[in-house]
């Protein structure tokens, strides 16, 4: 696409400028939803062309939240618990198949003390309400597809098992989700 340019200080003249600019800038890609943007002023106009590059975005969106736990009392958070389950959001090209896998801690740590975390469960769905979602084992991974808008949601739940003499402290660990695109 080329726009005509009029130079008021000289004879009317048509110029054509083509500037092919590859914009990797994701923000720009999101804003420039078309393939071309026209720029026009009183005396000049050019054509700016942006190649939109569909990004992939994998976010840890919500922590797996056990809240307070008590010595000797196991506490489970189900993957179907929309409020407390850990949630990852994936966005990319519509209907793209992806492979997801997890690195899951067996224990959580706090200043040399440990607490077992077991029985991981997972759900992936093409909407954030889990409607029509598919349960899977995070240890085994899954191969879901993004939805028609290019989105996928993944939830993870687990159980922590504090001992009866569990030392006080803040117990932490990391869950890693790997997305192969």
């Amino acid at each position: 696409m080329a726009l005509q340019l009029t130079n008021s200080s000289t004879q009317k003249q048509e110029l054509e400028m083509r500037s092919i600019t590859k914009l990797s800038l994701v923000v720009a890609a999101l804003v420039l939803t078309g393939t071309a943007v026209q720029a026009q002023t009183n005396n000049a106009s050019i054509t700016a062309t942006a190649n939109v590059q569909t990004p992939i975005n994998v976010l840890g969106a919500q922590q797996l939240n056990f809240g307070n736990v008590f010595p000797g009392v196991n506490k489970s958070i189900a993957a179907t618990d929309l409020t407390n389950a850990g949630r990852f959001d994936v966005t990319g090209q519509a209907s793209s198949p992806v492979t997801i896998s997890f690195t899951l801690p067996a224990t959580l740590g706090s200043a040399g003390n440990t607490m077992p975390i077991v029985s991981y469960t997972g759900v992936h769905a093409q909407n954030n309400a889990q409607t029509g979602g598919t349960a899977f084992s995070p240890a085994a991974g899954a191969s879901p597809s993004l939805n028609a808008s290019g989105a996928l949601w993944v939830w993870v739940g687990a159980q922590v098992q504090p001992a009866t003499n569990q030392a006080a402290g803040v117990y932490t660990g990391s869950i890693t989700m790997t997305v192969v695109y």
Binding site: P55, F66, A151, Y181
Partner: protein, 285 residues
Amino acid sequence: MMRALGLAGMLALASASLAAQGVMVAPHAVFIDHRLRSGSVLLYNPGTEPVEVSISTIFGYPTTDSAGRITLDTLLADSTVSALRWIQAFPRRLTVGPRERQTVRLLARPPAGLPDGEYWLRLVIAAQAGRVPITGVADTTAIQVGLTLEVRTIIGVNYRKGPVGTGVTLSELSARIVGDSLITRSKLERRGNAAFIGMIRETLVDSTGAVRGQRVGDSLVTTFASPIGVYVAMQPRLASAIPHPGLPRGRYWLRYEVVAERDDLDPTVVLKAPAVRDSVQLVVP
């Protein structure tokens, strides 16, 4: 239209998840020309906290398991198409500030006498946010539990030297209705010396030739389309849903085609190849 919806959806999600942690990666596939020997990937942090990112590379390409699920095969006996030893990413570690972007550059130093063809590796982008806040009210037990979420995104890097061509063959097409889902399998084998990057399109028609809609997530589509990359061979299983109340009794045809088209990639990097098509009959008793 679908592309606009997709971008709008991504924008909405990106906006809605500003408190979340991770980085946006673009493009999602990198193609490096031997004449330039370099490429780049942009990382953007849409969140409100800095994200620590580490970059690494592995060799592998997508294939399918016995169930037709797409997997990344990294235990490959044949590594003649590996670019792992001579493509490096810089920097290897970086911190992307809130709403900032940074570029990761890929530099290739191919060995002398490298034969014409396409060479592959995978870029691993690991993003770790700061510690997540640990919620819960203070109490006498004072045992609190918090888990850090880390994400790793793996994308493909394809290095092309000299004339490269691709194509795909299609065989063993099958389709069946399972519950409310349409399940298909096929065997795809790559031709040429470069990966086949394209789309699988499925259209379901009834005995009158009328197209029957399929449901993907919350959307109703007339043709189900799935991106595909055939590096060597695969037998992908695809599933789409039949809208309620399902299909009436009768005979249907599934039209299946594999085309070298991708609207999510720069058209100049999508190698042209003839489309392949087949169809298979379905009977709903």
